[in-house]
Every structure is written in structure tokens, then in C-alpha cells.
């Protein structure tokens, strides 16, 4: 279930972020409890706790004492802005490098992008 290239708690955090980005988790919606995450992924609850703490620190989730964790209303916009910032370095540059390495002319890549508009 995990690709073990990064700590499990970071993978859980990434998964929740992906759900917020896709809209599967909406603002002010409650997320599953750490115990439910721990049982689902068969991990120590302290590990799941760390993922949630990381998301609270980043402002993606907020705590309601005694009730649980909720998605911050601004989380989706914040995450989208972050992803936009990294888009060219994280997505476009590696694609260009790959195209060069395997001999695809960049004009072909540009044409493909234009055609898909």
C-alpha cells in the first residue's frame, strides 16, 4: 500500500492533501479519526497522529477539541497555490528533460499541449 520511499506519515498527509485538492474532502468537512487511519493502514496510531499534526501545522486541517479533525476552509486554495508554484520545476522541467533524453523534439511536445487545449 505504501511505496516506502517516504515515511508513512508523510504518505498519509499527501493522500489527505490529494483528497482536498480533488475536492473529495471539502472545507469544514470532518476527516476520519487517527484511529480509523491507523486501523485502515495497519499502523501505530502515533504514526497517524504525526500525519495529522503535520497537516494542522500546515493549516490544511484544524482541530475541534473532543470532536475531531476538520478540513480548513482555505485548504484547497492554499494547496492549489502551492502546487502552482512548484508546477514548472516539479512537472514541466522533468518532462522537458525526459523528452530531450529520449529524443522527442520540444516542438512536438508543444504541439501536443496546444492540441489538447
Amino acid at each position: 500500500m505504501f511505496d516506502d520511499r517516504s515515511p508513512i506519515y508523510r504518505q498519509i498527509a499527501d493522500r489527505i492533501k490529494a483528497e482536498v485538492l480533488s475536492g473529495a474532502l471539502k472545507g469544514d468537512e470532518q476527516v476520519m479519526s487517527t484511529n480509523q487511519y491507523a486501523a485502515f493502514f495497519r499502523i501505530n496510531p502515533a504514526t497517524a497522529q504525526k500525519a495529522f499534526q503535520q497537516l494542522v501545522d500546515e493549516g490544511v486541517l484544524y482541530k475541534k477539541r473532543g470532536i475531531g479533525m476538520f478540513v480548513s476552509p482555505a485548504a484547497r486554495d492554499t494547496l492549489r497555490a502551492e502546487r502552482r508554484e512548484g508546477f514548472f520545476t516539479d512537472v514541466v522541467d522533468p518532462m522537458v528533460a525526459e523528452a530531450k533524453a529520449i529524443g522527442i523534439p520540444l516542438d512536438d511536445v508543444i504541439k501536443r499541449i496546444r492540441d489538447s487545449r
Binding site: 516506502d4 520511499r5 517516504s6 515515511p7 508513512i8 506519515y9 484511529n35 491507523a38 486501523a39 493502514f41 495497519r42 499502523i43 501505530n44 496510531p45 502515533a46 504514526t47 504525526k50
Partner: protein
């Protein structure tokens, strides 16, 4: 239950099984106890369970001595692969005995587990398969709800689906009734995600006691062209290395600047807990 071990020594005549071991275990955590055969795991667990008197140092459970102290030992459960906790006649007899000695015994939960592992209450434990016998041990260990619960390889005899059922049951019951749990195992990769902290002992001494994620963060594999890898890892603690043609992969232990490695054109990745364990306890079997 909190455990304070200070300068523990366990000796059998001339043979020293545990030496100068100090360790503190907190309430409400799952610990992984790892060590090679003969490292002293079972000796340590036997002392914690009050099965054996230690030769030196102190061992306290919530500030009380353990050996020959029934008020404390009834709150401590050790389930071993040998099955002496359950080889008492039928499954029913084993449960009856456990119910008698364990103040926090939950009979309804025991029945749930019996159904989960499809055990026959009327069957004699000694006549069961190894897997079923292990399952009886697991039932007794979990349903005792002992504030210190230890499983010493006690689920090794179970097949993979039963082991997964055990891990799920253990985790669910731990979350509902937090207590101190020690899992001693050789199936490291299978169980390591359950650990909050890891204790590694080797030749009777403590090698590592660390939160599981911090231990994992200490290990990295650096892979790339042999010369660059050699250069980059020169001043690091190298656990082992492999070469495939011009590519070299070196396992290092300690903090690593991943960004710096990538800048040098090298790949970095995590090491599995099992690999770390092997190299921290003297490399592959000797």
C-alpha cells in the same frame, strides 16, 4: 504500565545473557523488541514477566519489583511460542485459568477472538496444529488486557491470514484499551509499522532504543556512479554496499543531506527496518 530497567544483568552460571542493560518503557506504547537468536530477548522478557530472577541491577514495573510479587505479575502477561500459558488441557481450560489469574480478563472479547480464529473450545490444546496453538496464546494474551502484554514470537506458527487478523485485532484492542505492549519478532517487515518505538539488543546489550520513525530516518541508501558514491559516503558510517556494473549502492547510518546528494547526481532512498537491524547487529548470519 511503566517499566524501569537499570543496569540489568541476567546470568546462567558462567553464561551472561543480559549485561548492563538500562531501559525505560512508557505506558501506552507498542514496542518492537528485536534481536538475533541468542541476543537475550527471551531472557529479558522472562525477567519482565517475573518468570526468572535477575542476577543484578533493578527492574521495576510502576515502581514495584516484579519477581515473586503476584500483585504486579498478575498485571503482566507474557505469551511465548512454547505455549506453556495455554497447554493446560482444552481451550476452555486455558481460558478458565486465565480468567482466574487475570483481573482485567474480558470473556466476551475472548469469545470474539475464538470465533475470529475459528478455534474449538472443547479441543485439547496439545493436540492442535502449531498455528491453532499460537492462536490460543494470542487469545489469552489479548483478552487478559494486562497493562504489560508481551508476545515473544508467539504468532510465528500462524499462517499469513491469521497473522494479519492478529495484527488487526491487536491494533484495534490497543486503541480501545491502551497498554504497554512488547512484540518480539523475526518477521520485522511485517510488524514494523505497528511499532511506536524499537528496542534492539545484541549479545545481551542494548544497541538501539528509538522511536521507529527516527530509527528509519537514520538509514539511507545512496546510489549512483561508483566513484561519486564512494566520494560522497567517505566520511559517513557505512553499513554495507552493493555494486551492479558501474552503479554502486551504499547503505549509510546517520543524518544525511539528501539535497546535497541529489546535487551530486546521486539517488537517495530509505532502508527497510530489517536491513538496519541486520547491519546494527553485526551483519548477515555468522
Amino acid at each position: 504500565m511503566r517499566i524501569d530497567i537499570d543496569n540489568l544483568k541476567v546470568a546462567y552460571g558462567e553464561t551472561v545473557a543480559i549485561d548492563s542493560l538500562s531501559l525505560r518503557l512508557d505506558t501506552g506504547k507498542i514496542y518492537g523488541l528485536l534481536g538475533r537468536n541468542g541476543a537475550g530477548k527471551t531472557s529479558l522478557l522472562s525477567v519482565l514477566a517475573g518468570f526468572r530472577r535477575h542476577s543484578g541491577g533493578t527492574v521495576l514495573a510502576d515502581d514495584s519489583p516484579i519477581f515473586e510479587n503476584w500483585l504486579t505479575t498478575r498485571e503482566i502477561s507474557l505469551i511465548r511460542d512454547a505455549g506453556e500459558t495455554v497447554n493446560l488441557g482444552t481451550v476452555e481450560d486455558a481460558l478458565y485459568f486465565a480468567e482466574d489469574v487475570r483481573p482485567r480478563w474480558d470473556a466476551a472479547y475472548a469469545q470474539e477472538l475464538i470465533d475470529l480464529f475459528k478455534l474449538d473450545r472443547k479441543k485439547n490444546v496439545k493436540s492442535m496444529s502449531k498455528g491453532q496453538r499460537s492462536a490460543v496464546g494470542v487469545v489469552v494474551g489479548l483478552a487478559s488486557r494486562a497493562p504489560l502484554t508481551m508476545f515473544d514470537e508467539s504468532y510465528l506458527g500462524m499462517d499469513a491470514p491469521s497473522r494479519q487478523a492478529f495484527y488487526d485485532a491487536l491494533l484495534a484492542d490497543f486503541m480501545a484499551h491502551p497498554r504497554t505492549i512488547i512484540l518480539s519478532t523475526h518477521l520485522i517487515e511485517e510488524v514494523s509499522s505497528l511499532f511506536e518505538e524499537v528496542v534492539i539488543i545484541d549479545k545481551g546489550r542494548l544497541v538501539v532504543h528509538s522511536p521507529a520513525d527516527e530509527l528509519l530516518a537514520m538509514g539511507s541508501a545512496v546510489t549512483g556512479p561508483a566513484e561519486q558514491v564512494e566520494e560522497f559516503t567517505r566520511d559517513l558510517t557505512v553499513l554495507g554496499s552493493k555494486q551492479l556494473g558501474p552503479t554502486r549502492s551504499v547503505m549509510v547510518y546517520g543524518p544525511l543531506d539528501h539535497a546535497e546528494a541529489r546535487k551530486a547526481g546521486l539517488e537517495t532512498g530509505p532502508i527497510a527496518m530489517q536491513e538496519l537491524f541486520i547491519h546494527l547487529t553485526g551483519g548477515p548470519a555468522s
